[in-house]
């Protein structure tokens, strides 16, 4: 009993001591988030200046960040903020800057080039963007020039859109039970291929909507052991384009962590589809698709929104084939900027280093979301 009291007293005393230490000598980031001044390091080096700027961006201290820039005469604070958060609602609008990396590219006595890699936390995972800052010495400190990317202005115009839209009327509760409901769209898996990776087993494939109506699709895979007992079941989650218009094909990727191919006797694939209201608009052109070899193998290209409405979120899915036409990998990237009409937006999908040499061709599809309706 006495030991218990002693332990409690010790814990209490330790807590008080830690509170005192934390108050007297706070961690800079904690002090900054508590509103007790910035995280600011000295600006005596280009790296510190860049880090200070990004810290202010992270804390959304737009006025301080803007005030510290060397080229602020070229744009307004609002344009600076919109350049970072997006001019139109997009993934970036609701993202927070999780972390960053500062890399010096070049440095002289009065000028320097610094690359900042920004890791944004978005609703669909981490999104990385890179900016190269030109740094200039100003007396005893350094200042950054922000490489502003002004949003292209779409001239006022009317873009007539007369694409199809499908609406669905389902069977009513008062209908006779013999009356058939609207038929679910017919979809078919046209390719399926298991790939063993370090992190586990991956099922790759492609799904075709062979019907004449739009389909909301997903794919579930169940791994069966050699004795036909189930090992695990997983779905494609967001590694698929869920909305398929008639005759459209989507790749899919299903991950099973900690499973090896040798454990698997067979795979049971279950594609599911349901009829949904949908629109054939917007049409996205995927331009200049280029397979870039290793190191840093990737698929790059540009998206061009050919329609009149703004696309808030675009999801690019790349299917990679070997010389025999077999799927060897599926990868994706979310575009964190809104797609404005007729305005190219670049994308880059990374290909695993060890698979890059097998890739011979690719096919890219884009799934889009516009606020005000799922597309």
């Amino acid at each position: 009993m006495k030991k218990g009291h002693l332990f409690a007293a010790l814990l209490g005393a330790l807590t008080v001591v830690l509170i005192l230490i934390g108050t007297e000598w706070p961690v800079p980031s904690a002090a900054a988030y508590a509103g007790g001044g910035g995280l600011l390091r000295s600006s005596s080096t280009p790296e510190e200046t860049a880090a200070n700027l990004v810290d202010e961006i992270r804390m959304q201290a737009w006025d301080k960040a803007y005030a510290s820039l060397a080229n602020k005469a070229q744009f307004t604070e609002d344009e600076f903020k919109r350049d970072i958060t997006g001019y139109y609602p997009s993934l970036r609008t609701y993202a927070t800057l999780e972390s960053f990396e500062v890399t010096p590219l070049h440095e002289s006595a009065d000028e320097a080039e610094i690359r900042v890699k920004l890791h944004w936390s978005t609703v669909v995972g981490v999104s990385v963007s890179t900016r190269d800052l030109h740094m200039m010495r100003n007396g005893d400190h350094w200042e950054a020039e922000w490489p502003i990317v002004k949003e292209a202005v779409v001239p006022p115009q009317v873009i007539p859109v007369n694409y199809l839209r499908w609406d669905v009327i389902y069977r009513g509760p008062g209908d006779d039970w013999g009356i058939q409901d609207v038929e679910a769209p017919h979809v078919r898996i046209v390719d399926m291929h298991p790939v063993e990776r370090a992190e586990g087993l991956v099922i790759l494939g492609e799904l075709l909507n062979e019907d004449v109506v739009p389909a909301n699709v997903s794919v579930t895979a169940t791994l069966l052991s050699k004795s036909q007992s189930p090992i695990a079941t997983e779905g494609s989650f967001d590694k698929i384009s869920h909305l398929l218009l008639p005759k459209q094909v989507t790749p899919f990727l299903i991950e099973f962590s900690n499973v090896t191919l040798s454990q698997v006797g067979s795979v049971r694939m279950v594609p599911t589809s349901s009829l949904v209201s949908a629109s054939a608009d917007p049409v996205i052109e995927i331009e200049d698709q280029q397979l870039n070899p290793a190191p840093g193998a990737s698929l790059t290209g540009q998206l061009i929104n050919q329609s009149g409405q703004i696309v808030n979120v675009a999801h690019v899915l790349g299917t990679f084939y070997d010389k025999t036409g077999q799927v060897v990998w599926v990868a994706d990237e979310y575009i964190d900027r809104a797609l404005l009409p007729q305005t190219p937006i670049p994308f880059e999908i990374h290909i695993p280093q060890d698979l890059a040499s097998q890739v011979s061709s690719q096919r890219t599809v884009v799934a889009t979301y516009s606020s005000g309706g799922s597309q």
């Binding site: 694409y163 218009l245 698709q289």
Partner: protein, 289 residues
Amino acid sequence: MIVRWALLLGGLVVAMAQLAHAAGGSMGLPKTIEAGSSFSIQTPGSGNASLYIIGIGQVLKRDVQLGQIVFFAAGSLFNAGHYLAVLAGDSSTETESFDVVPANKPSNLSFLAKPSRLPVGQPDGISGAVYVFDAYHNLISVPTPVSFELSSPSGTIQKRAAIAREGAAWAQMDSTALQGMDEFVVRAGDISSARVVGQVPGDPCGLKMTARQSGQQAVLVTDAVRDCNGNAVLDGTIVTFTETYNGSQSTIDEPLKHGIAQVTISAHNGAMFSVACGVAMGNQIRWEK
């Protein structure tokens, strides 16, 4: 000893007589009654009693004068099944059982036609199953002739005759070459039920595009996209245009509009344009300015 044997035999005779009285139809009940028809029960004996008719989901009770006939109007018993008639008097209770059977005349059809939509030219692609009911929705269990008839947009009619056994019959039909709406009708007696089945175009066949210059760009237009039976593929179907040049590729997924798909794409000298729709590949065009 003789007396004991006489008592034993006498007891057995009395017991058997009571058993026969209980089970042997002293109420004068028919063994089967058609659902919804009127019937009567002749009650034996004298005095007051209560008559209970107990069946699936239905119980009737009548206070009766024993020795009289109890009438049940048409529609009193309408659920097919096994029933129990219990006559409970002051001193004794009699029980008899009987069956209510479905009427033989079809009055309702439940018709399931599948699928509601299918591509043209599918042998045995359309199936219809019918359940035949009487006026009180009892499944008619006696063999009942039914006929299926599928009228396609081309005017051809497919007919199948079948016998509904235990209330059910089915048939399979082919989807024909012409897209449109089929009328699928089933008849039993003088009643019928109809469903609509949509025949939709199949995969595109002979997909072909042409290219023309428009300023610095190329306009790619497909011919009217049709399936192998000549049906126009429906608007909204995705056609994929691909341009390949210098190891680079551009693609556009364009939905059909008014039967054709058209895109405007950056034109590069020496580029190869190709077109596809689903699993159907179209022609290729090399672009030379």
